[in-house]
């Protein structure tokens, strides 16, 4: 089954890319933006049909490789 993971920067970590995107949006006329934070999205197809096990597996991947927990948080989203 397919499991998705979203990795985002923690609140206190500077995100210069997000800041530049925000400024560009501002320049394009999107003046209602408070803040932009850039993150990563992974779609992982695992050989596992049990949703709990599949989620646990991807969580383990997030902890060990996909996210650096010093600066990033992860969120697992079940897809199908």
């Amino acid at each position: 089954m397919k499991v998705s993971a979203v990795i985002t920067l923690k609140k206190d970590v500077l995100d210069p890319q997000g800041k530049v995107i925000h400024e560009t949006l501002d320049g394009m006329g999107f003046n209602s933006v408070n803040e932009v934070r850039q993150g990563k999205y992974f779609e992982i197809d695992v050989k596992e049909n049990d949703p709990k096990k599949a989620k646990d597996l991807v969580e383990d991947m997030c902890k060990k490789l996909l996210a650096n927990l010093v600066i990033e948080n992860y969120k697992i989203i079940e897809t199908q």
Partner: protein, 227 residues
């Protein structure tokens, strides 16, 4: 003295490091990332470059390669390990030194000579160094050193900051900070000070024709300290 330089796919300062180590008297061996065993070594170097194309996070993939198990064991048993630039990024991703290296604050790839202040000489890397400020070269996109407040406190309490970005007189301030690193940190030790990660490239400053020779001072001193 024997050294080993690890080559990862995308390393590009590995041969420069080989030239530098050999020039100052190390018997150096090149080791492929997919090997499992390290040759007998007094020093292991993780070189600069763009291992795995900097995919995911710089150094993240290389930190999981086969040889890194041996490098981590070597470091944990007290062996000397030095990571330069991408090698520093691999060290933080492997957990051998604390913190992370973020994208440079002003989003520019920086390639220039900088001055660094050597503050801590109670370690094998800088012991007896007769200069306080070295001119070295940096070339990186992700050299913005970051750590949590708790980590910073621990790092400072244990004297783990190895070098700081500074001006030619050794003054550290925001204006001289090239990439936004916390406290102008350019290099850091593990707690035991046998592992050093730093962004500047000493191997690029080993000849008069290479815009400076402060790297020579570093390598000569390092060899004497290991002897």
């Amino acid at each position: 003295m024997k050294s080993s330089v690890i080559t990862f796919p995308g390393s590009n300062c590995d041969r420069d490091m080989d030239v530098a180590l050999t020039k100052f008297g190390f018997k150096n061996k090149m080791v492929w990332h997919n090997d499992q065993e390290l040759p007998k070594s007094d020093l292991i170097v993780l070189p600069g470059g763009f291992s795995y194309g900097d995919y995911l996070r710089c150094g993240s993939m290389a930190s999981k390669s086969k040889i890194m198990h041996s490098v981590i064991n070597f470091a944990k048993s007290g062996g000397l390990v030095m990571g330069i630039c991408n090698g520093f990024q691999i060290l933080v991703e492997s957990g051998l030194v604390p913190g992370v290296l973020l994208r440079n604050k002003y989003l520019q790839f920086i390639c220039k000579n900088v001055h660094v202040k050597v503050d801590n000489k109670e370690n094998t890397f800088f012991k007896n160094l007769d200069k306080k400020v070295l001119e070295l070269h940096i070339a990186h996109n992700e050299g913005n050193y970051f750590c949590t407040n708790d980590q910073l406190k621990e790092i400072e309490d244990n004297n783990q900051i190895a070098i700081y970005y500074c001006d030619q007189n050794g003054n550290t301030n925001d204006q001289i900070n090239p990439n936004g690193s916390i406290k102008n940190i350019a290099g850091i030790f593990n707690k035991e000070k046998n592992v050093l990660g730093m962004m500047p490239h000493p191997e690029r400053m080993i000849d008069e024709s290479l815009s400076g020779e402060d790297g020579s001072i570093f390598f000569k001193n390092l060899l004497n300290n290991i002897k």
